[in-house]
């Protein structure tokens, strides 16, 4: 790279020739004022605030857009520069309401700060204008007050270039120019319209003045708050943001640039914090006495729990106890939960909701590649040439990753979307394979067939890194595009086109989620993805890989920390004697080497009374698990149920003891995001009322059971984790502090691992091709239940809505359970748009509002799984034999009028 030497204000700096004067000045810690600049955006030079004097130039130059030249001499604060900046500020100020006195932005407003810095006369130099009298109040999350807008255009650019929605534009021209946002005023019912605001708030978060402001009832001044950096508690992207706190209350969320999300957030991240202080929060331990929940002391509650644990264990044996850990809780807490179950209960009956989402990933990838996690990193999206997004509605389920994929596609990368619905990404895809739900293996085999026939596979890579390729060829040779087209309901040409787009580029990456995993052959679906990637040499290289997008903030961590019935933390098998010995020594108790039961089996056990006591931490199986009626039967059959949560969930309603825990904002710890990055969470507010962090509660229970648990802080727990978990061995809070680190990290001088398998498949020796034949879902439409139901998450809610239902604006945005249905199918059943219908399967019935859409095929319907008495009343609990994931994505249903 060419370095050039530049002189700025008598100081010299040597920097890359493609950088700008602004960046050069930054190197020298010289502050140049800007309004429209953002290092993530293309410079527009529109505000003209950053002008500087460049020797030899006719006019002042904008530092944000002018590249440095060798020998350039720049003055950033000379008299003409100061005068020019003052001119801008005077012009802006004269067309801006003089409302700093009451403006919420005061103290955090660039116009205010610069006006102070540059001595702007508060009595405007020009007659006061109010040319932009426009107030947009229609969005539920924020307002646009055009009067305060200085038209820097950052919001327009952020929406177009970073969020890639293009919902914001300029309207009118000249002095009347103003910002205009395409709003969706109706409740969305899960529809994301193109060019319509998705309320991500990225514009709001970057508005330099008070024009775009979050709707908030909190009154606070920006100088009264403290800011605490932490990790978002929603999906697995692991966005970094700061909680803005006043008087022990979170009043705003500010994104953090530079990390995982580089300053981007989604609607839930930006605006979904109000559940923290919600009056519905559980405040005291509760014990069910005569059918009623009664407030009790912690001692009473914990003593009862310990008594029941001992009693049940004595009476029915250790395997009659089980614990459900939580993908929402921290790594430390998951570690403690599995420790409590293993060391305290004496069984390996510990599991968590990963069983319902990525159990097949862990099983499928660990056996073919070595590790069951995303091979590559989020930041590598920016180098990918072709994306295959399969079974992931990324822009709704992992919105920030969705935006990053969109950014890359806009820069010219190819996009193949494989999904039964025309999801948002499908609209910008080169090919959309709108397959029948459950036909992933067929489509993967079809793609591989074309790649093989056309010689687009990477034979050198295959020879060097893999085994069993010949077996694969035997299977895929039967999957001609014609046959696959028929199975999947897509066109032959699209299969061929997609295969070429995927195989012909240098760096192709697969991104997938529940559409692949939640099937009765989910493990095989995952292995098919591995086959496809291995065949084209797309594993072990930057910007490629097989990337399962993890759904929960810490579902990766919960798996990593052994909240699984077959492994200790770090995927160390419970059946391995040496491992068992290591943990027995560390924990000072005898441990079981019998693999525990998985979540669905536990539920069966409970309904059979093989399991008598269950301790559920931060999970809501009454809504999240398939076949709600079955789950209800199971849980009510228990002798004793402990639920530890932040709200009274549907599951908590069935508990014997409820323990009030705290939210992510009230505790310290770590989350591991989807790209294996372990990131800090930090306490921003003190726990409310009589609530306690989960890790403290668990520690207390362990102590009362007589286990060794001398943790003074949560960091002590983490240090115990690193001493026992090789993939986490090199971490400590200090190292994680800045941007977190990615496992595997075997030692404290190891930098962490950006992408896996860069030096081959060391764990298995070679990656393994698994020949797989297509097998359909367990339940297919028939005369009685003629429609295929598929399920999923939406943008505005998270899982069982425990948190998002307590954020009023989110709740209003998507208030009802809905069912998406094609026009033809709707006609067939004579049902209308917005009408409520009854949807039934062999297992139950659910009510939903009809949404007729052209994004779904005839005969297929879609329902979100957030709502109690919703999709999971209908879903099929049929399990994948290998990993026990239920077939949540496909079942047969019928529709009747209400």
């Amino acid at each position: 790279m060419n370095k050039v030497k530049v002189k700025i204000n008598e100081q010299f700096v040597e920097i890359d020739h493609h950088l700008t004067i602004l960046e050069a000045a930054k190197e020298l810690n010289i502050d140049i004022p800007t309004f429209c600049h953002d290092e993530r955006l293309n410079p527009t030079g529109s505000c003209r605030m950053c002008v500087v004097e460049v020797e030899g130039a006719r006019n002042l130059m904008t530092a944000c857009s002018t590249q440095v030249r060798d020998g350039m001499v720049v003055k950033t604060h000379s008299t003409p520069v100061i005068e020019a900046r003052k001119g801008i500020l005077e012009l802006m100020w004269a067309n801006h309401p003089n409302e700093c006195l009451t403006c919420e932005k005061a103290g955090n407003c660039k116009l205010q700060d610069y006006s102070y810095q540059y001595d702007i006369d508060p009595d405007s130099l020009y007659p006061r204008l109010d040319s932009r009298k426009y107030f947009d109040d229609t969005n539920r999350f924020y307002t646009l007050d055009s009067r305060k807008c200085i038209l820097c255009g950052k919001c327009v650019q952020i929406c177009a270039e970073l969020q890639v929605n293009g919902a914001i534009g300029f309207e009118d021209r000249g002095i009347d120019t103003r910002i205009s946002i395409k709003q969706n005023e109706e409740p969305t019912d899960g529809v994301i319209d193109p060019y319509t605001c998705v309320s991500c708030g990225n514009c709001v978060n970057n508005c330099p003045v008070g024009a775009l402001m979050p709707k908030s009832k909190e009154k606070f001044r920006n100088w009264e708050v403290k800011k605490v950096k932490t990790t978002c508690p929603y999906c697995g992207v692991g966005c970094q943001f700061e909680l803005v706190v006043k008087d022990n209350k979170v009043v705003r969320v500010d994104p953090v640039k530079g990390g995982t999300n580089d300053g981007l957030l989604c609607v839930k991240g930006t605006f979904g914090y109000k559940f923290i202080n919600h009056p519905d929060r559980l405040t005291h331990p509760l014990i069910r006495k005569n059918g009623e929940f009664v407030k009790v002391s912690w001692d009473e509650a914990l003593d009862l729990i310990v008594e029941k644990i001992k009693e049940t264990k004595d009476k029915y044996g250790a395997n009659a106890l089980a614990g459900l850990s939580s993908a929402k809780c921290s790594n430390e807490e998951n570690y403690l939960m599995q420790k409590l179950v293993r060391a305290g209960f004496g069984t390996n009956n510990v599991d968590h909701c990963a069983r319902l989402c990525h159990a097949s990933t862990v099983a499928g990838l660990a056996t073919t590649l070595g590790s069951g996690a995303m091979t590559n990193s989020i930041s590598e999206i920016d180098g990918t040439d072709t994306f295959l997004v399969i079974g992931s509605n990324t822009t709704e389920t992992h919105p920030v990753i969705g935006s990053m994929i969109k950014q890359r596609v806009k820069k010219g990368a190819h996009l193949i979307v494989c999904d039964p619905r025309q999801i948002e990404l499908a609209k910008m895809a080169d090919v959309h394979l709108q397959i029948k739900p459950g036909t992933n293996v067929a489509i993967a085999n079809g793609l591989m067939h074309v790649i093989y026939q056309e010689g687009l596979y990477d034979i050198d890579y295959i020879d060097k890194n893999t085994t069993c390729f010949k077996d694969l060829i035997e299977v895929i040779k039967d999957y001609t595009p014609a046959r696959v087209a028929k199975i999947c309901g897509v066109s032959e040409n699209d299969i061929i086109k997609a295969a070429r787009l995927y195989a012909k580029v240098n760096k192709a990456a697969i991104y997938y989620a529940m559409g692949i995993t939640q099937h009765s052959h989910g493990t095989n679906h995952v292995k098919s993805m591995a086959n496809l990637a291995l065949m084209t040499g797309n594993v072990g290289k930057e910007s490629t890989g097989i990337n399962p997008l993890r759904g929960q903030n810490n579902v990766q961590g919960a798996c990593d920390l052994g909240a699984l019935p077959n492994v200790y933390p770090g995927y160390q098998a419970v059946t391995d004697v040496n491992i068992q010995k290591k943990f027995e020594e560390a924990w000072g108790v005898k441990l079981s080497n019998e693999v525990g039961h998985t979540l669905p089996i536990m539920m069966n056990d409970a309904s059979n009374q093989d399991i008598r006591l269950m301790y559920i931490m931060g999970e809501n199986p009454m809504v999240s698990d398939p076949d709600t009626n079955h789950i209800k039967k199971a849980l009510t059959n228990l002798d004793f149920l402990v639920v530890q949560d932040i709200f009274l969930t549907k599951t908590a309603e069935l508990a014997d003891v409820i323990l009030p825990a705290v939210t992510y904002a009230e505790k310290d710890g770590t989350f591991t995001n989807t790209e294996r990055r372990v990131q800090r969470i930090r306490k921003a507010v003190e726990p409310q009322s009589d609530t306690r962090p989960d890790w403290e509660i668990l520690t207390d229970v362990m102590k009362r059971l007589g286990l060794k648990a001398d943790y003074k802080t949560v960091e002590d727990v983490f240090n115990e984790i690193t001493s026992l978990t090789p993939i986490y061995a090199g971490f400590d809070y200090q190292r994680l502090n800045e941007n977190g680190m990615q496992w595997p990290c075997p030692s404290n001088d190891h930098p962490g691992t950006k992408f896996l398998y860069s030096d081959g498949f060391t764990k298995l020796g070679k990656a393994i091709f698994t020949p797989i034949h297509f097998m359909g879902p367990k339940e297919n439409p028939d005369h009685d239940y003629p429609l295929i139901l598929t399920t999923g998450r939406t943008l505005y809610h998270f899982h069982t809505k425990t948190m998002t239902d307590r954020v009023e604006a989110l709740k209003q945005t998507l208030p009802n359970n809905f069912i998406q249905i094609s026009l033809n199918t709707a006609k067939q059943y004579q049902i209308n748009h917005n009408e409520f219908v009854l949807v039934s399967s062999r297992r139950g019935t659910s009510k939903a509002k009809v949404q007729i859409t052209d994004t779904i095929n005839d005969g297929v319907v879609f329902m979100p799984f957030h709502f109690a008495d919703g999709a999971n009343m209908l879903t099929n609990p049929a399990l994948d034999e290998i990993c026990n994931i239920p077939e949540l994505k496909v079942c047969a249903v019928k529709i009747e009028k209400c």
Binding site: P43, G45, R48, S65, I88, M92, A94, Y126, G153, F170
Partner: protein
């Protein structure tokens, strides 16, 4: 091919079309048919002749009889008298012929005599909707020459040799631009024709497109060959329906003849052209805003660099030239760059088309060699100000140009000369102002335009032009102060220095040039609260003179009731007094003047 004994050319430019030249043609055809001579006389709808003032224009060949302002009812006379009986209809001739009682062919009248037509050569000569007529006048010969005998670098060399500079306004050397554009390598490159003629009053680009669309297509293909581009865009405003239609026809015909499309003349050069319609925003004439608009975005300028030659349409290298620039190319190729460079003066070669407008006798389009003086253009060709009024100033370069005065009339027209005087060539608008024009008001008029047309992107232009306009409003309404005058001047220079694109940078030019050349008029508005020309209504003062007979008609109609008989005594006996207007209340509605008996006419404005 059929032969005719006479050809009638009727102007089909926008100006004449709006004075019903289409209907005129139909009427004449009807008359010809009635007389049974429709196979002896051919009527051709041509492009603009330029002398729009005299439209609709009809010219009869072979002798070149020049009829002007022909009405539909005149069709019958021209057909029966001239075309049937061979007698010229004298009273319909152009006024010069009538005045001088001498039948003048079109090229003999003063308006055309001093012109030299290169870009407009075919306008008013050929049927623009017939490619054969263009080909008959050596059309597409230049493209053949280029493709068969010249290497791309030779073409660029020839253009450089011609010293042609961009006719869109900035005057960047065309050859150099082509050279730079040819240097950038990419899988796709574009040639783009800027036909977003935004200056009010300028219409040379429209006339070229309407009159000789193939010249532009041919030139674009040549440019494509020279710079390595395979695709061209013409960005033309939707308000030019005739130009758009003729371009569409021309592109279709050129493709049918294999002059556009794949493998032109069996060379392996392919070039295709697509039309993009603009929506009439002035800023879209700015090259980067134009590119944004072609890409389907809101037309807002981008920062430069990168220049379009490096990153233009869809981020690919793009050569952008204006219509008139392109129109010069075929002749430069055919006759050689040296031929072209012999026309004009140092730094400004060839000819330039100007649109004469405002207070001038011969409103219209003229093409003159560079270096001709303003005086020659305004007086010899334009005929000076009408009604014997005195010339005061000329605004060159459109709304963002500057005003020049009498002292500048002998300046030879050229890019650098005009800039030196604080104005510019621009696209060639030339608005003439006479003694009745208020220069403050004119500056306000132009600012009104640029203020309205600012795209709103950068602060100095968006907010600043509005403030300039506000200040000018103050002067025009008598509220201006010396402080305002200082602010006006400093803000004007501020906007010039700090705006993002050329629109903002040049928007203050009318203010700066009027302040430079007509400061006394500003001072009159400030010090005397007086508009010397009487244009600024708010500064008029209604006064009742000594002629007042005290009839009181004025007082009766005054809506403000601000006229009272408090003047000097007119009639001692009756003690009747003259009426006086209270200026603090007067709203200058003029009702009193209307009411004052015509014989008396006692009320005047000052």
């Amino acid at each position: 091919m059929q032969f005719y004994r006479a050809h009638v050319l009727i102007c089909g430019g926008t100006g004449c079309v709006s004075s019903k030249s289409h209907e005129l043609k139909a009427e004449m055809e009807k008359e010809l048919k009635a007389l049974g001579i429709d196979n002896e006389v051919q009527i051709v709808m041509t492009g603009c002749f330029g002398l729009c003032e005299a439209g609709p224009i009809v010219i009869v060949y072979p002798e070149g009889t020049f009829y002007s302002q022909v009405k539909i009812k005149d069709a019958k006379r021209i057909v029966t008298e001239h075309l049937y009986k061979g007698r010229i209809v004298k009273d319909l001739l152009y006024y010069e012929s009538i005045q001088q009682d001498k039948i003048k062919a079109v090229n003999e009248v003063d308006f055309y005599a001093k012109q030299k037509r290169i870009a407009l050569a075919n306008c008013g000569v050929i049927d623009p909707e017939n490619i054969d007529e263009y080909i008959a006048l050596d059309g597409y010969q230049a493209l053949i020459k280029v493709l068969t005998q010249m290497k791309p670098e030779d073409v660029i060399e020839e253009i450089k040799l011609s010293e042609l500079r961009g006719r869109g306004g900035a005057g960047f050397p065309t050859g150099l631009k082509w050279d730079i554009a040819s240097q950038y390598k990419d899988d796709m490159k574009y040639v783009c024709c800027n036909a977003d003629e935004g200056d009010p009053g300028a219409f040379m680009d429209r006339s070229i497109l309407e009159g000789t669309p193939h010249s532009v297509l041919e030139a674009m293909a040549i440019a494509g060959y020279a710079t390595g581009a395979k695709k061209g865009y013409i960005y033309v405003r939707a308000e030019y329906p005739i130009a758009v239609k003729r371009l569409q026809i021309a592109i279709k015909q050129a493709k049918e003849y294999g002059l556009l499309g794949e493998d032109i003349f069996d060379t392996n050069f392919s070039f295709d052209i697509e039309i993009r319609l603009g929506a009439g925003a002035f800023v879209c004439g700015e090259e980067t805003a134009l590119i944004e608009s072609i890409e389907g975005k809101r037309g807002m300028p981008r920062t430069k660099p990168p220049f379009p030659a490096e990153k233009g349409i869809w981020g690919k290298p793009t050569l952008l030239n204006n219509v008139e620039t392109f129109a010069n190319i075929p002749l430069i190729i055919l006759k050689g760059g040296e031929w072209f460079s012999k026309i004009g003066i140092e730094g400004s070669k060839g000819t330039k088309v100007f649109a004469l407008g405002g207070k001038i006798k011969n409103t219209g389009l003229v093409e003159v060699p560079m270096g001709m003086t303003l005086r020659e253009v305004i007086y010899d060709i334009g005929g000076g100000c009408p009604n014997g009024k005195e010339f005061k100033a000329v605004q060159t370069g459109g709304p963002s140009g500057g005003c020049l005065t009498k002292e500048h009339l002998d300046t030879p027209i050229g890019y650098d000369n005009l800039v030196k005087l604080g104005s510019m060539m621009g696209s060639g608008g030339m608005i003439i102002m006479d003694e009745d024009t208020c220069m403050v008001d004119i500056a306000r008029y132009f600012l009104d335009f640029t203020c309205e047309e600012s795209c709103g992107k950068c602060t100095p232009c968006r907010e600043g032009t509005k403030r300039l306009k506000e200040l000018l409003d103050r002067f025009c309404t008598g509220k201006g102060t010396f402080e305002d005058l200082d602010r006006l001047e400093s803000l004007a220079y501020y906007i010039q220095d700090n705006s993002l694109c050329n629109l903002g940078q040049s928007a203050p030019n009318p203010v700066i040039s009027t302040l430079t050349h007509f400061r006394d008029e500003y001072l009159a508005h400030v010090v005397d609260r007086r508009c010397p020309t009487g244009v600024c209504k708010a500064l008029l003062q209604y006064t009742i003179t000594d002629k007042c007979i005290g009839c009181g008609s004025c007082a009766k109609v005054c809506p403000q009731e601000c006229i009272e008989p408090v003047g000097k005594v007119i009639n001692e006996k009756t003690n009747r007094r003259a009426y006086v207007i209270d200026h603090t209340k007067c709203i200058k509605c003029g009702a009193c003047i209307e009411a004052c008996p015509p014989k008396v006419s006692a009320i005047i404005t000052q």
